[in-house]
């Protein structure tokens, strides 16, 4: 939602990044204010996922130019764990499996680490159990899920729900959802979207990275950006996603910037 007295959470300017010497991001610009939901769309290879990983600080990518300010701080000089503790959250497209580590153990460690950073009390295992069970209701998750190994043998839907559960626990300022809709059937998609909707408020912001319009039926974005060859080539309101759905990405190439809506 666009609010009048919003503050700038993220400001990306002229961002260039490469992996193994190949430049993927070629001048990204993006401003995200509190309360807003931004969708970044584009074909495979346009750089959407790279953008998400670069914001979170993946070590395989090298930033070669540009700046990223997060709540006024230079995000690029922070290691990934500090970005996370500062409130940047990435919901992974492919969450990793951690055999032998109970989900509850992992979630509690992450939760307590971030809590400590924010000067709040840690929760002991029993307190945490109550707390996490409450949050799990948001995503319609079964209790046995806590005792299972992190993401091991999880279905696609369970993995994505687990990501959103972590988002619920860590209460980030900026959530980046990388293709959270991929591999989800419609029921799972609704549950995940409903979870995200309950977590968004006027103090935080969300970036949805997605290939398809489908997700945006359930999480309605304030802005839709289209990426091509490493930068945003078109920006519009939520109706842009529908336009893309009917006309396809080819249509962008010939109409770059021509229908871009007015963006603050």
């Amino acid at each position: 939602m666009i609010y009048e007295n919003s503050t700038t959470i993220l400001s990306v300017q002229g961002l260039h990044a490469s992996i193994n010497g190949t430049e993927i991001l070629k001048g990204m610009d993006l401003t995200v204010k509190s309360g807003e939901i931004h969708a970044i769309m584009g074909l495979n290879g346009s750089g959407k996922s790279t953008f998400a990983k670069v914001l979170a600080g993946h070590s395989a990518y090298e930033v070669t130019a540009g700046s990223v300010q997060f709540e006024g701080k230079n995000l690029l000089e922070l290691p990934p764990e500090e970005r996370a503790r500062a409130g940047v959250f990435l919901a992974f497209q492919y969450p990793i499996e951690i055999p032998g580590v109970a989900n509850t153990q992992f979630l509690r460690l992450a939760y307590n680490t971030v809590q400590t950073q924010r000067g709040r009390e840690e929760l002991d295992p029993l307190e945490f159990d109550d707390f996490v069970r409450e949050k799990m209701k948001l995503l319609d998750m079964k209790p046995d899920f806590l005792d299972r190994s992190v993401n091991e043998g999880f279905s696609g839907g369970e993995k994505k729900r687990n990501e959103i559960l972590q988002m619920a626990l860590l209460e980030p300022k900026l959530s980046i959802l990388d293709e959270t809709d991929s591999g989800l059937d419609i029921d799972a998609l609704k549950i995940v979207a409903n979870g995200v909707n309950q977590l968004t408020n006027k103090n935080n912001a969300t970036i949805l990275v997605t290939h398809y319009q489908r997700l945006l039926d359930y999480i309605v974005p304030d802005y839709v950006h289209v990426m091509q060859a490493g930068r945003i080539v078109m920006t519009g309101g939520k109706e842009l996603a529908l336009e893309l759905e009917t006309r396809g990405y080819d249509w962008i190439s010939t109409n770059k910037h021509s229908i871009a809506g007015e963006v603050a």
């Binding site: 993946h58 070590s59 992974f92 990793i96 951690i98 950073q117």
Partner: protein, 478 residues
């Protein structure tokens, strides 16, 4: 490889320590005279001398094995001194006299208080207000008829048992290093649990602290009679340094009808420096004979030290319905090499065996699992389940699996599962994106990976082993 990974891999070994021991050392070299000298020094009976000489004659005809997946310069067996009688060490009067560096190591590893004292050479009586832990345990054990003493003592006090069982599971000519051990072993532990007795506590060599150190050719013999059971702990998490590079121990376990022997090892010998210089060669023969019906032999090992580890704790399942188990975690870092695994020899009917092996390699190290499951024609209804998982940290290390399966009875069921995984940037990125730093992430991944083995360890040992692993791999990812 990322800088973080690099830095974790290149952590030096900080906690080795040397104990200056004055000793009475035999001239270097091995011949019949050396063996006669050892036997005479130890005042051994004639039968034991001939056991040693027979082993020596056998050893002369054998050649050093070279099939294992490890490399090391040829050992000059004539350059080793085979007998060294340690003079009793001066006991320290209190913990205040112990090297603070040593205490910090114990602290870091979480070694229990009474063990710290023992390991540091403090007279236990002083620490615990005249209630000696060792004495208390000894009394308790004696009450139920359990014999737990050094092999040397047992040779004199219980010759009939030693004569009956020594070499009955690992014959003198079993393999090159076992033959060498049989010829020159200096000391070790003997444990005898009589019929129907459940040993009331875990037995550990800590409780034999007043006896001499066992030297480089250690010999252990454990016998559990009908219906008896025992859990035995070998080694400790505290790092051990030794000037003897070659260690060739032999461990024999015998379980009669309905008997149960659980043998747990935590091995943390000096592994050499970060360039692979120095370190112990640990060439061990461990074998259990599940001789009686419904008997069980269970090996659990956490191998973290030594430059080279070469050991295959095995089970011969002779009794019908007998059970063999092998749970192993082997960690190698820097230039360490480990070739370890097990042999499960199924002879009796309905015998069952389980193998769970977890190999973790970091740095430039190499870790191999080598295992044999043999189902003899007599072993109707035998079952085996094997699981061999390897984890790689960084991209300079190696993991190898050599499973041998020989099934000669078509009613048998044998399952083998294997996996290899890698702690890479993507895993660490996932943790760091949740605010968790690399050290903690690695510790969590490793402990999860080893969970199936750690839960087999006695409680206290399990806690120590968990810490030890984090400690060994500290700095190897990040």
């Amino acid at each position: 490889m990322s800088a973080v990974l690099q830095s974790l891999v290149n952590q030096p070994y900080k906690h080795g320590f040397v104990t200056e021991i004055e000793s009475d050392i035999a001239p270097k070299g091995l011949n019949e005279d050396t063996i006669r000298l050892i036997s005479a020094k130890k005042n051994e009976p004639e039968w034991l001398l001939s056991f040693r000489l027979k082993a020596y004659q056998k050893w002369l005809t054998m050649t050093e094995p070279d099939w294992q997946n490890v490399q090391y310069p040829k050992i000059d067996f004539q350059a080793i001194s085979y007998y060294s009688a340690p003079k009793p060490k001066k006991k320290l009067a209190s913990m205040d006299e112990v090297d603070p560096e040593l205490l910090r190591t114990f602290e870091k590893l979480g070694v229990p208080m009474h063990e710290r004292a023992a390991l540091a050479g403090v007279a236990v009586d002083v620490i615990f207000d005249s209630v000696s832990v060792a004495t208390t345990y000894k009394q308790k054990l004696a009450e139920v008829g359990i014999i737990f003493c050094s092999i040397s003592e047992a040779v004199h006090n219980h010759p009939e048992l030693i004569q009956k069982y020594l070499g009955s599971v690992v014959p003198v000519g079993d393999n090159y290093f076992a033959a060498l051990n049989s010829a020159v072993f200096t000391d070790g532990s003997f444990c005898f649990i009589p019929k129907g007795v459940k040993c009331p506590m875990d037995l550990s060599t800590y409780f034999r602290i007043n006896t001499e150190s066992s030297g480089q050719f250690e010999r252990t013999l454990i016998v559990a009679e009908e219906g008896a059971s025992v859990s035995y702990l070998e080694g400790c998490t505290a790092p051990k340094f030794d000037t003897n590079q070659l260690h060739a121990a032999v461990v024999e376990l015998i379980a009669l009808d309905d008997a149960d022997i659980k043998y747990s090892t935590v091995q943390n010998w000096y592994a050499g420096d970060e360039n692979g210089v120095g370190g112990i060669y640990n060439f061990v023969t461990k074998r259990g004979l599940a001789k009686g019906r419904n008997s069980r032999i269970s090996w659990t090992q956490v191998e973290t030290g030594s430059a080279i580890t070469w050991k295959y704790p095995s089970c011969i399942l002779r009794g019908d319905n007998s059970v063999g188990e092998f749970y192993s975690v082997a960690v190698t870092n820097n230039y360490q090499q480990a070739d370890t695994g097990t042999k499960m020899i199924h002879l009796g009917k309905n015998t069952r065996s389980t193998i769970v092996s977890k190999g973790i390699s970091a740095g430039h190290s190499n870790s191999s699992y080598r295992g044999l499951v043999r189902i003899a024609p007599t072993a109707d209804g035998a079952r085996n389940y094997s699981q061999c998982d390897s984890m790689l940290i960084g991209d300079q290390c190696g993991a190898h699996t050599f499973p041998y399966i020989q099934v000669r009875n078509n009613s048998a069921k044998v399952e083998h599962e294997a996996s290899t995984s890698k702690i890479g940037e993507d895993q660490l990125f996932y943790f760091s994106q949740r605010g968790i730093d690399a050290e903690e992430a690695v510790s969590m991944i490793i402990n999860g990976f080893c969970k199936d083995v750690f839960q087999q360890l006695p409680m206290e040992f399990a806690v120590e082993a968990t810490k030890l692993l984090s400690f060994k791999l500290e700095g190897s990812v990040g």
